[in-house]
């Protein structure tokens, strides 16, 4: 293949960003098999069963993340945005290093999701070998045959480890125990894609998911937010002998963007509750996992690149449709529940004000009690990760001083931290189970709390003796 120099010559229309343009190198990545596969992986898994419009794919999301990452890079590297404390961090505009890192950033943004399984996150925890997740597959793919051909075909050729670092970010690099380190500049670039507060991934998925689901909570003024982004020293945590030492740089905003950032974090909070961890979506995930365990060879997705690339939502949907109509097929019952919308219903859920502290195990205790009473096949459990807890990021005030976002924003201070948990059962058992729980729930939770604490404390003692 002839080596090509990136030029900016392609564009596609996009419902969120209107136009997304890309150069010849990025086109090589887009045309690669791992990236084209994302045309067949739904962004929101089976949320389409709840929100009919949620039929969009990881393909267009990844294009959107590339687009936003490039925009953020252009904004935060403007000369007038660079304070003396961070100027030396940024390569000089016009130099090869500057364009190299912009290229790596946009390519990493494109590649950040190529390791996703069919139906995205739905089966990740249970359907991969131990210590594998979609990011580890992403890592393998970036270094694999199809992508290596891309890297070798263009100049300047991105170093795969640089792409991996920016695509996965430090949290995943750490959890995968990769021997990769981040300098300050690379840390900021990774934040442009992966930051909890201001990252391009989050901005795009909130806007895109909101648009396609019709849930308006996910909208916010991202254009204003991006225009106010800056590389800033970290906000101070205390007044001490360290006064004036604000630590290493990170992605932040100017004061004028604070309301847009508040809107983003509120959007995240609402979308988690309304869309991503909607209880019906959670139970569809459980039925899907049950089906895949029965249908997949050895109950696991393959993780080597060729095997991974051979599975998309299409193959799984076709199998679900077929198994739903064949009583002898592996996974028939789960397939029927998905295809015929005969999913389990909620019989218990976390009580926000009551199931805290020692009673935080309440829903898992109810789950165990219901399994014992009705049988394991009739009871399923689903939970969201915690949501809320606004990330703290630096904000440059109008006097030029840097402050903590949480110290400046009453909205961010009040954002509640919550976690949702549910127990599900078939519709025909639901009323009986709820009636039983009405009288027994408190006893179940109290007894379980006492038991768990006793066992936990003793286990530690025994284990260390």
């Amino acid at each position: 293949m002839t080596a090509r120099v990136p030029g900016r010559s392609n564009e596609v229309r996009d419902p969120v960003h209107t136009f997304i343009d890309f150069n010849s190198l990025e086109r090589e990545v887009i045309d690669s098999l791992p990236f084209q596969r994302l045309r067949h992986v739904h962004q929101l898994a089976l949320s389409g069963q709840v929100y009919p419009g949620a039929s969009h794919k990881r393909f267009e999301h990844s294009l959107g993340v590339m687009h936003l990452a490039g925009r953020i890079f252009d904004v935060v590297t403007k000369e007038e945005k660079l304070s003396d404390e961070v100027r030396d961090l940024v390569p000089k505009r016009g130099e090869a290093e500057f364009s190299y890192w912009k290229t790596v950033l946009r390519v990493a943004a494109l590649c950040h999701d190529i390791g996703h399984l069919p139906f995205s996150h739905a089966g990740e925890e249970d359907l991969l070998p131990e210590d594998w997740d979609h990011e580890r597959i992403t890592l393998e793919l970036i270094g694999s045959g199809p992508m290596a051909e891309v890297w070798n075909s263009v100049r300047p050729s991105p170093v795969p480890d640089d792409v991996i670092k920016l695509a996965l970010g430090p949290k995943k690099v750490a959890s995968l125990k990769l021997d990769l380190s981040f300098d300050d500049w690379e840390g900021v670039l990774a934040e442009i894609i992966t930051s909890d507060a201001l990252g391009a991934d989050r901005i795009d998925y909130l806007l895109r998911d909101s648009l396609h689901t019709g849930v308006a909570y996910g909208r916010f003024d991202h254009n204003r937010l991006i225009q106010t982004m800056r590389i800033l020293p970290r906000s101070p945590e205390r007044d001490s002998e360290d006064g004036g030492d604000f630590g290493e740089p990170q992605l932040g905003i100017e004061r004028g963007g604070l309301e847009s950032a508040e809107a983003l974090l509120l959007a995240r909070y609402f979308m988690f509750a309304q869309v991503y961890y909607h209880p019906t979506r959670l139970i569809y995930d459980e039925h899907l996992k049950d089906f895949l365990r029965a249908w997949l060879p050895d109950g696991r997705f393959p993780v080597e690149p060729d095997g991974h690339l051979s599975y998309t939502d299409n193959e799984v949907w076709a199998a679900i449709t077929k198994a739903a109509e064949d009583a002898g097929a592996d996974g028939h019952d789960s397939a029927r529940r998905i295809a015929h919308r005969e999913h389990f219903r909620v019989v218990d859920e976390r009580q926000i004000a009551e199931d805290v502290g020692e009673r935080s195990i309440a829903v898992t205790a109810v789950f165990e009690a219901l399994r014992e009473r009705y049988g394991a096949e009739s009871v399923r459990f689903g939970r969201s990760p915690k949501r809320g807890e606004a990330p703290d990021f630096p904000v440059m005030q109008r006097d030029g001083k840097v402050a903590s976002s949480v110290s400046l924003s009453e909205v961010l201070r009040q954002l509640p931290v919550a976690r949702d948990e549910y127990v599900f059962m078939p519709a025909d058992l639901r009323e009986d189970a709820k009636k039983w729980l009405k009288t027994e729930r408190d006893n179940i939770v109290t007894a379980a709390a006492e038991r768990v604490e006793k066992e936990s404390d003793e286990e530690k003692e025994d284990g260390e003796s």
Partner: protein, 179 residues
């Protein structure tokens, strides 16, 4: 370590840091937990990596969020420009009490590290934790000057004097850490 016992120890650490006049922001808890794990062999299930601000655990960050969701910890916003502080709720204090055996085993180590760190600020803690990282990961048998050089290679803005002080302080803590 059992997750609930671990939460009880984190609650105790946050409480004793506050009692020792620590600001008790996330950085303070991160660095104190790292020092506790390495210096005093408290078997937390947190993996630390060398990140922008020295040794850091994303798992511990998630745990602090979970403990807020379960109302064991609360995050107290501060007046600008400062970041939030953590405090232990009544439920968090009760959690400590319920894990009496865990506290009997590790509680004094937690109290020791909190007393050693007292009101240190984030920059001091970052230097100290990075000095420990250098000593345990790179500095097997290395002298003070070599470790100072390694530390300054990682954190270039740290002066030679501050780096040397951090390495000396780590050597003292290693010598006095409870077994």
């Amino acid at each position: 370590m059992n997750p609930m016992a671990q939460e009880a120890l984190v609650a105790r650490l946050a409480r004793t840091l506050r009692e020792n006049d620590s600001w008790t922001g996330e950085t303070h808890i991160q660095k104190a937990t790292y020092l506790l794990e390495v210096l005093a062999d408290v078997p937390f299930d947190f993996d630390f990596i060398l990140y922008k601000h020295g040794p850091f655990s994303f798992e511990l960050r998630d745990e602090l969020g979970n403990m807020q969701a379960d109302r064991y910890l609360s995050r107290e916003p501060q007046d600008p420009p400062y970041g939030p502080r953590f405090s232990v709720t009544e439920s968090g204090r009760q959690l400590e009490e319920r894990f009496a055996k865990t506290m009997a085993r590790y509680g004094s180590k937690v109290d020791w590290i909190a007393a050693q760190l007292r009101d240190k600020g984030v920059a001091s803690l970052e230097r100290l934790a990075t000095a420990l990282w250098v000593t345990t990961h790179e500095g097997d048998g290395l002298g003070l000057e070599e470790r100072v050089e390694l530390l300054r290679g990682i954190k270039r803005h740290v002066s030679e004097e501050n780096a040397a002080q951090a390495v000396r302080e780590i050597d003292e803590l290693l010598a006095s850490a409870p077994s």
